[in-house]
């Protein structure tokens, strides 16, 4: 597999949200608006890339039996770094994402890539894999957020587009499931075609 494929697989072919259905807890929770989805996606991307790099670098040094705890410590450290940095420099976004930032630690996507890819591949491939998967995740969250924001509050990235009575349900929790279901269905249709 060349590096281009390695990078692009995260967007459509192995998209973490639409195809692998990984990390759905933050996906459903934070995507009430496009900007929240994008912010969460980029925070996760950072953690994913950094943890993939570190895991790939230390993969021969870590004995097999303690690899999971070691990976978790690495991931948790990067999550805490992201959390503190966001709290300091983007307090508005931090308030909106709130609880979900620390929960990146338990996002199975991050540990999944560390275990399934970075611990078996070299530094460069792991970096590309992390970036591709992370941006694919960010793309999916931003798309889901945009759809929900448009249908629920008539705006995209806070820019008002529609007026009048809207389908408020899309901003609420059930709307997340409905919107995600339709997006997965549409993507599957394209994938087969």
């Amino acid at each position: 597999m060349n590096q281009v494929q390695n990078f692009t697989k995260g967007f459509i072919k192995e998209n973490p949200v639409f195809i692998l259905l990984l990390g759905l807890c933050p996906t459903l929770g934070v995507t009430t608006s496009a900007i929240n989805g994008l912010g969460m996606g980029l925070a996760t991307t950072f953690v994913l890339v950094m943890s993939n790099i570190v895991v790939s670098l230390v993969r021969d040094f870590i004995p097999d039996k303690v690899r999971i705890p070691s990976f978790i410590v690495v991931i948790a450290s990067f999550v805490t770094i992201v959390e503190l940095t966001m709290q300091a420099y983007t307090p508005g976004l931090f308030d909106a994402l709130g609880l979900f930032i620390p929960l990146i630690v338990v996002n199975c996507l991050v540990l999944g890539r560390a275990e399934a890819f970075a611990s078996k591949n070299n530094l460069w491939s792991s970096f590309v894999d992390g970036a591709g998967m992370g941006l694919g995740f960010a793309f999916a969250l931003a798309l889901l957020g945009a759809v929900r924001e448009l249908l629920g509050s008539g705006a995209i990235f806070g820019i008002s587009l529609l007026k009048g009575d809207l389908m408020l349900v899309f901003v609420l929790a059930p709307g997340a499931f409905i919107a995600l279901g339709y997006l997965v269905a549409i993507l599957n249709k394209f994938k087969k075609a």
């Binding site: 009430t32 303690v66 070691s70 509050s153």
Partner: protein
């Protein structure tokens, strides 16, 4: 692929120790760097809220006052302008929200009328309960200029004078509760003086 280190007891202990130590060092570093910006961002947010609820001031004095109903104490921010008292901003809260805790800032003029209100933290439903916030709707305007001593701080459904937000009576009720708590404590504190 290079051979992994053996999972012997000593290897595992040493590895975990090193991983944890490096993580701790990194986190300590980031914490030190971001400590000040975080404190600054929090202070800015608070000052912005006070500024929103009080017309004009040049000095703020913060005091904790025990709540009138025996609950958690409320923060009072006595404002003054050129040595003259210019009202007080009270950070109040309620647990009656649709999703629990709501924290608001209520500004009182010297004569006890409400100057303005601002929402600090809320987990109320987006599109419904979050209309408590001036940023989302004009609903809180109805409190401006009212004196809680003569103005019945209950939603119309409960026999009061506050028009509840459509489909968000619980949130509106909670908001009234928080304002009432601020006022009661304000009166009590005046009496104690």
């Amino acid at each position: 692929m290079a051979s992994k280190r053996e999972s012997s007891f000593i290897n595992m202990v040493v590895t975990l120790f090193i991983v944890a130590a490096v993580a701790a060092l990194a986190l300590g570093g980031v914490y030190t760097v971001t400590k000040e910006p975080i404190a600054l961002a929090k202070k800015k947010k608070l000052e912005a809220a006070i500024k929103k609820v009080l017309p004009s001031f040049d000095n703020i004095e913060a005091v904790n006052v025990a709540s009138a109903d025996g609950g958690d104490s409320l923060q009072f921010y006595f404002a003054s302008k050129e040595g003259q008292a210019a009202g007080v901003a009270i950070k109040s809260y309620t647990m009656m929200g649709f999703s629990g805790l709501i924290e608001i800032m209520v500004g009182f003029n010297e004569d006890g009328t409400i100057s303005n209100t601002a929402v600090l933290t809320t987990k109320e439903t987006p599109g419904l309960g979050d209309k408590l916030d001036k940023k989302k709707s004009d609903w809180p305007d109805q409190f401006v200029g009212k004196h809680p001593g003569t103005y019945n701080l209950l939603v119309t459904k409960d026999g009061g004078e506050v028009d509840a937000i459509t489909a968000a009576t619980i949130s509106s009720r909670a908001f009234c509760d928080a304002v009432q708590r601020a006022y009661d404590t304000y009166e009590k504190q005046k009496g104690d003086k």
